[in-house]
């Protein structure tokens, strides 16, 4: 037991410490007080109940966009199209909300979530279908589709779907205050966080404890072998991508329903790109996405305090994220090198 858990827990934590150390050296070289900076980071991200809420609410979209990269990665597809799926999901969710605005809120929200997830899902599923049937590189096509999604949204928001009342920030019409997604209990964390956790747990169960997930992992491990053993590779790929895109589309729907009430250029807030990082650091494990997303939410949450208390530029959180990502990737190579631990355990 000890040996099995040793690697997935000790290695990431050690890597995180190394990354923080490197970041500390970097900011000391840049003339900041590293200990003070770490103090502020802790205070801004986890130091008070307010900071915790700040962190968790930022983690909400990251969990869902991380799933958009993590699930396809399990089957061997590197998809970086979460940003586009968020945008199209948010767009169609907003349209649904506008059309149904007078229905009861529960119906509106359900329909919005359904439409957002469907469009996001189809958006990403199209990428893996292109990969499977036409051999189109999924990484590049998903990247291109991000730009295309954003252009379509801008065209619609500035043109045919613009609410003329939104003067200097063109947006669609509002879905109606009554239809907004509320906050969880007395916290200031909207339900997006809850939905994110539920999605991560549900997809973890699906991926780790069902025949479907097992088939996906086999395909991801060796596609040729999977084909030879008669697994429906195409169907597995498309269903996985559909689920992945649905998660990102749901993130878009939540942005509209919990934050903006409309669709506008703020949907393109880089959650999709940050989700890629979260997915890789969580090693594409849906359950591990939850703490990693919270960690990244915390980095973003404390960024303001670093600017205010230490005069560091906003880019310091980018640098920190980059360092963490690189060190974690480098630590990948350590897995499996501690097998002697397991061996020892057996002999005991």
């Amino acid at each position: 037991m000890m040996g099995r858990l040793f690697e997935p827990i000790v290695i990431p934590f050690a890597a995180l410490l190394v990354a923080l150390l490197l970041f500390g050296i970097f900011i000391t070289a840049a003339g900041a007080d590293a200990l003070g900076v770490f103090e502020s980071m802790y205070r801004g991200a986890f130091g008070t109940w307010f900071s915790w809420q700040n962190t968790l609410v930022r983690a909400a979209p990251l969990m869902l966009t991380a799933l958009c990269t993590a699930l396809p990665a399990r089957i061997g597809l590197i998809i970086i199209g979460g940003e586009g799926a968020v945008v199209v999901g948010g767009m169609t969710a907003a349209l649904t909300g506008i059309v149904l605005t007078h229905a009861s809120p529960i119906i509106v929200l359900t329909a919005m979530a359904f439409m957002g997830m469907t469009t996001g899902g189809l958006w990403i599923a199209a990428i893996s279908a292109l990969r499977h049937y036409r051999g189109v590189n999924e990484t590049i096509s998903s990247l291109l589709l991000n730009y295309i999604a954003i252009a379509i949204m801008n065209f619609l928001v500035f043109g045919p779907l613009r609410d003329p009342e939104t003067l200097n920030k063109p947006s669609t019409y509002h879905i109606g205050e009554a239809n907004m997604l509320t906050e969880m209990g007395s916290t200031s964390i909207h339900w997006g966080f809850g939905l994110g956790v539920i999605a991560c747990v549900a997809l973890w169960v699906l991926m780790r404890h069902t025949p479907f997930g097992f088939a996906v992992d086999i395909t991801g491990g060796n596609m040729r072998a999977a084909k030879l053993s008669g697994l429906p590779v195409a169907r597995l790929m498309i269903i996985t991508s559909l689920l992945a895109g649905a998660a990102a589309g749901l993130a878009g729907m939540i942005e509209v329903a919990a934050v903006h009430g409309r669709a506008n250029s703020s949907l393109n807030a880089n959650y999709g790109y940050e989700g890629i990082l979260v997915a890789f650091i969580a090693r594409h494990n849906p359950l591990a996405i939850i703490p990693v997303a919270i960690l990244f939410g915390g980095i973003r949450a404390s960024s303001g305090l670093l600017q205010r208390d230490h005069d560091l530029p906003d880019a310091s959180s980018l640098v920190l994220q980059g360092i963490i990502f690189i060190v974690i990737l480098a630590s990948e190579t350590l897995y499996g090198r501690f097998s002697w631990l397991r061996a020892k355990e057996k002999t005991v």
């Binding site: 103090e39 205070r43 801004g44 130091g47 008070t48 109940w49 307010f50 900071s51 700040n54 609410v57 930022r58 801008n154 065209f155 500035f158 043109g159 003329p164 003067l167 200097n168 920030k169 063109p170 200031s188 942005e255 934050v259 903006h260 009430g261 506008n264 703020s266 807030a269 880089n270 973003r300 949450a301 303001g304 305090l305 600017q307 205010r308 208390d309 530029p313 906003d314």
Partner: protein
């Protein structure tokens, strides 16, 4: 209350910041008069980088001017997107830094973000740059301030009208929204008051900060023979430098860009936020009630013209100075009929006029006669 207790406990761990921290954290709970003598905490939020040679920098310069007032604690945060991030940035300034007055400076921060957070913190004042506050609809602790920079753009248009030889002006704009369209129209109307044959060609780049597109737009406009170029994007640096490189005149925007174009710079429209921010600081320290709506142009000192460049002719200077004086004494009304748009439709009938403060002007969706371009994306 619990939030503040926890907050205070954490603060005791902070060396040095102890006294200030306690005072400001408590300050937020006491009625306004009690904290009149204490340190005033002001927090600024920008949508882009502090030093963009443009809009965000103009606010940062305003914030920096507070440094000389030792009873003000001013903090700021850059690159805050118009998402839940800005809500949390405001709350974080209030909860962790004890800020009593927040200045979210980007247009998109207002609805829904400020409107959502303000009711939670009734003792904190939220002053939004953009002038959207409406007494009937919005909370009492929200207010807004904005400058009529289009007055300064009008003056720049007068200078441009005098200096242009080809009669073609160029305007590089981010997107067709009312604030931008109003500047384009003011620039054009002013130039045409000098020479009715003048046209302004507009290129919309589609984003607030796209240097390559802005440079390409500048080059293609210059290729079409325009000889005075101005812009409304977040950072005018690239546009002004490209104009200078190609040897034509330019008018600046947001901040003073004279140093970027020593040969061809004419003048420019600048914000003067230092005044606004210092006024607010004074009001808080004296405990006077803060007005919910602050607006103004030249007269109120919220906007200024950049100093004239070397090449500007005496006549152009004289006319521009005269125009500024008429704005100062309130006799100048830009939107006085008859005014047609560039499709030939009469938008303001003869005899009708819209004063600077008229709310109708803030929904502008047309381009004046003489503008080559379209508001449709």
């Amino acid at each position: 209350m619990k939030k503040n207790e926890v907050d205070n406990k954490r603060r005791t761990l902070l060396k040095g910041a102890l006294a200030v921290g306690m005072a400001t954290a408590l300050g937020g709970l006491l009625p306004s008069k009690a904290w009149a003598k204490k340190k005033v905490g002001m927090g600024f939020i920008y949508v882009g980088p502090r030093d963009d040679y443009g809009y965000n920098q103009s606010h940062y310069e305003g914030k920096s001017s507070l440094a000389k007032l030792d009873w003000v604690k001013a903090v700021d945060q850059e690159n805050v997107p118009e998402t839940i991030e800005v809500q949390k940035a405001m709350e974080s300034m209030i909860n962790l830094d004890g800020i009593q007055i927040v200045f979210p400076t980007s247009f998109g921060y207002f609805d829904p973000h400020i409107l959502k957070i303000a009711p939670k913190y009734p003792d904190v004042m939220f002053l939004h740059c953009g002038g959207l506050w409406d007494a009937k609809k919005h909370p009492k602790n929200v207010g807004s301030y904005f400058g009529y920079i289009d007055e300064a753009v009008y003056v720049a248009g007068i200078v441009a009208g005098h200096m242009s030889k080809t009669g073609k002006l160029g305007f590089i704009a981010a997107m067709p929204i009312p604030q931008v369209l109003r500047n384009i129209n003011n620039f054009t109307l002013a130039a045409r008051s000098v020479n009715p044959k003048i046209t302004t060609t507009v290129v919309f780049t589609g984003g607030w900060s796209l240097p390559v597109k802005e440079a390409e737009a500048a080059n293609s406009l210059i290729d079409q023979g325009i000889d005075v170029l101005t812009c409304h994007v977040d950072s005018p640096k690239v546009v002004i430098e490209t104009a200078e490189k190609r040897g034509i005149y330019s008018c600046g925007y947001h901040t003073n860009q004279a140093v970027l174009a020593p040969k061809g710079f004419l003048t420019g429209a600048q914000w003067n936020w230092s005044k606004v921010y210092q006024d607010y600081a004074e009001m808080i320290s004296k405990g006077t009630k803060i007005p919910n709506l602050v607006r103004g142009g030249f007269k109120e000192g919220l906007v200024t013209s950049s100093p004239y460049g070397k090449v500007v002719s005496a006549k152009a200077k004289e006319q521009a100075d005269k125009m500024r004086a008429s704005f100062m004494n309130g006799s100048m009304v830009v939107y006085k009929g008859p005014i047609k748009d560039n499709t030939g439709r009469v938008v303001i009938a003869a005899g009708k006029e819209y004063k600077q403060t008229d709310i109708w002007l803030e929904g502008m969706d047309w381009l004046a006669e003489g503008v080559i371009g379209s508001t449709k994306g």
